[in-house]
């Protein structure tokens, strides 16, 4: 029996319906407000360490971004706002001056000063500290703290994105005094930060207890305690939400949204992911070295169908390699086209003779990776591409990623760490980057210039031209920009961040009270 693409998608849809059959408990409308003073949320795995410079895993940063503050804070709307720095400006080309917030204190009661920020940022690239974020601030030349309220960061070359870098991982500010008193082991198991919650206790893989910081500079959050529970199984996380045991759950897959929304007391809320799901391409491997073939691959993908059937509408079709919401995203570009007829034409023009083209997918490493691979394989076969799907184990993928030995196409879900093409397209596809399988002299030149220019107009033009080149050569075939979905009780009012930061602050979170 040959499976058509439509059979496949129907099958996927049916599986989702089965998952949604068990109807949830009906609860009275009064459950839509609460008197709770405790916020309980569940994520897919436990925290591995509280030292924010030792891990970049999403389970860790969801917690560390609440215990610690950054100098600059990226709000859910994607804009940069004051954090531990109240304002900043560039002096000349390479000096950034930050005004440090006065009156902010550590959880121990000690005052926070510019010297703490200097030490914390220098620590990230100090070999003695063996951090896992040593590459975040490579543009920094030296840091000065002339007085407790001023921090000056000198960069080696102009770095327009320094404030953005300070807002993400690596930029969480840790206390020198506490770190030196507690030692590395003490610090990573009992952290002290300046954030809205402070550490109380932790039982591994069971629960983490935090309490509201009443002296927080941004205002005490709307709860007394915050409890984080690791619940690895999606079905168990949903059950815990529906039963009212937890207030928020993370990593909700699209097929579970209906079930959460059908329950009278819960709802699913999403933020458009700050990044893309792309099929990265080894453009050195024939016939993928021919741009016409890659154009055909892109044209043969019915992205609308994938969004509708496999993602239940929880995503948008990208228009290029820059995610919607990022700097220099071009809203005038149309979504990537589906045109099987044109795809066949370009294959013919390319002289494609049925060579095998591999999609090396994982199963469940990124959401919907295997179902999307199978659907795309069927779409490609429809236009005469000899597509093969191979399923890799996670560690094999990690190994291939490191050794750059993918033989065709593979899934990548790059996060736009800086809210800018430099932190995504250039970080991954640039020369020497982790997905360096394609070079183009003009594209490389533009990317390098844009990285070191503080002229936003120039940068905008450069990224426009780079996008055009990508849409001709397709070192990435963008497929979808999905929503990051969360399930929550209706009495929770919270706006999630698009980049898994899971920031819970007074400005974006409150319980609906009776």
């Amino acid at each position: 029996m040959t499976l058509t693409r439509r059979d496949l998608l129907k099958g996927a849809a049916a599986a989702g319906v089965v998952a949604a059959v068990a109807d949830p408990l009906a609860r009275p409308a009064s459950a839509q407000t609460t008197r709770k003073r405790e916020l309980v949320w569940a994520q897919g795995g436990d925290v591995s360490t509280f030292d924010p410079h030792i891990s970049t895993s999403s389970n860790d940063i969801r917690v560390s971004f609440n215990i610690f503050d950054n100098l600059v804070s990226r709000h859910p709307d994607g804009k940069l706002n004051p954090g531990l720095a109240t304002e900043w400006k560039i002096q000349g080309q390479t000096a950034w001056v930050f005004k440090i917030r006065q009156g902010a204190t550590w959880h121990t009661g000690d005052p926070f000063t510019a010297a703490d920020a200097k030490w914390s940022l220098e620590r990230t690239y100090d070999p003695a500290h063996k951090t896992r974020v040593s590459t975040v601030f490579t543009s920094i030349d030296r840091i000065e703290a002339p007085d407790p309220a001023t921090l000056v960061i000198h960069t080696k070359k102009p770095d327009p994105l320094l404030p953005a870098r300070l807002a993400f991982y690596g930029g969480q500010i840790v206390s020198r005094k506490y770190f030196e008193a507690a030692g590395a082991d003490g610090f990573r198991s009992k952290p002290v930060g300046t954030g809205p919650v402070r550490f109380v206790s932790w039982t591994r893989d069971d629960k983490l207890v935090l309490e509201a910081n009443p002296d927080y500079w941004g205002g005490k959050p709307d709860f007394d305690r915050m409890i984080v529970r690791p619940v690895p199984e999606m079905a168990s996380r949903i059950a815990a939400l529906l039963k009212g045991e937890v207030d928020i759950i993370t990593q909700v897959t699209p097929d579970h949204n209906d079930r959460i929304n059908a329950n009278p007391t819960t709802r699913a809320v999403g933020a458009l992911y700050a990044g893309l799901y792309v099929l990265a391409v080894n453009s050195k491997m024939p016939p993928l070295d021919n741009p016409l073939v890659k154009q055909a691959l892109s044209l043969a993908i019915d992205r609308d169908l994938i969004v509708k059937e496999l993602w239940r509408g929880r995503g948008i079709v990208p228009s290029g390699p820059i995610a919607k919401g990022d700097n220099h995203f071009d809203g005038s570009l149309p979504p990537l086209a589906y045109n099987p007829k044109e795809a066949r034409e370009r294959l013919k023009k390319a002289g494609y003779k049925g060579e095998e083209i591999f999609i090396e997918t994982t199963s469940g490493y990124t959401a919907n990776d295997k179902p999307m691979s199978e659907a795309i394989q069927a779409m490609w076969r429809d236009v005469g591409i000899n597509a093969k799907v191979e399923v890799l184990e996670y560690s094999v993928r990690a190994q291939k990623n490191r050794d750059k030995t993918f033989k065709g196409l593979w899934w990548s879900d790059p996060t736009s760490t800086l809210g800018d093409p430099d932190g995504m397209m250039w970080r991954l596809l640039g020369p020497g980057g982790p997905q360096d399988y394609w070079r183009h002299a003009r594209w490389d030149e533009l990317g390098d210039k844009a990285r070191f220019s503080v002229d936003e107009k120039f940068r905008g033009e450069a990224y426009k031209e780079m996008t055009k080149i990508v849409l001709e050569h397709f070192p990435w075939i963008p497929v979808i920009q999905p929503y990051e979905d969360y399930g929550m009780q209706k009495y929770v009012e919270w706006t999630p961040n698009p980049n898994q930061q899971f920031e819970i602050r007074r400005f974006n979170f409150k319980f609906r009270r009776a």
Binding site: I54, D206, S236, K243, S395, Q399, R402
Partner: protein
Amino acid sequence: MRALLSFIGYRLFRALITLWIVSTVVFVVMRLSGDPVPLLLPPDAPRSEIFRVRAELGLDRPLPVQYGVFLGNVLRGDFGRSIHFREPASRVVMGYLPATLELGLTAFLFAVVVAVPVGLLSAVRRNTFLDHATMGVALVGQSAPTFFIGILFILLLSLKGGWFPTSGRGTWAHLALPALTLALFTMASVARLTRSAVLEVLRADYIRTARAKGLAELLVVAKHTFKNAAIPIVTITGLQFGTLLGGAVVTETVFAWPGIGRLAIQSIYNRDYPVVQCVVFLSAVLFIVLNFLIDLIYGFLDPRIRSR
């Protein structure tokens, strides 16, 4: 006495060999499965950074050297530092062990207390409705995947019924569903085994003799049948404890139970060699000790075995 000592000595020797083989296999398999370093660093980390971390973890040394260091350390009870948790692996594992023992022992008791009487009863009442019904249920229990049963219990008994929490550890109510889920498979196998073992004995000549000399049926079953049927039951039930430890991997994940099964799975994903090695070693020790105890009980139940 001498026979008993040489019996114990021989078993101990075999146990040590088993432990050595188990730890070597884990060592080799973990290293075949891939490198933990790419999983620890951001995807854009430069190669120099990867080499630095590899050296820091001692993974740049030749395999035989790593193996030698590993064996030497294991003899001293040192499994190395966890790559993920950055503290001694044995301390990490010991932190998770109580939860698994709590779950495993409860499930084991659950299984034995229910399954042995049920098996006995369906053997004695062979081919009645009771026999067919219990064995039917046992067949389902044995064939349904733990994962499915766990989710089903959460939906029915927790979400619909509202009697138990959906997941987590804390009160006895938290323990009930995971213990029941874990017990189900063991319960089913022990019940089926008890039934066939008892049936076997019921056909023996000495039972016919016991009945012929006019003993009450209750005495025939309780004294003559059950004690003789107990040998295979004890063996299999003991071995089932090992299956329980294996089943804990799935059950602990479904119910978010903080035990070593879940730790093992996460550590395999994280390529946390020291923790995986320690978990497997510890499970093997538990299993071997249990087998050893069973052998002793065996000897007590059947004196013929002792003299062999």
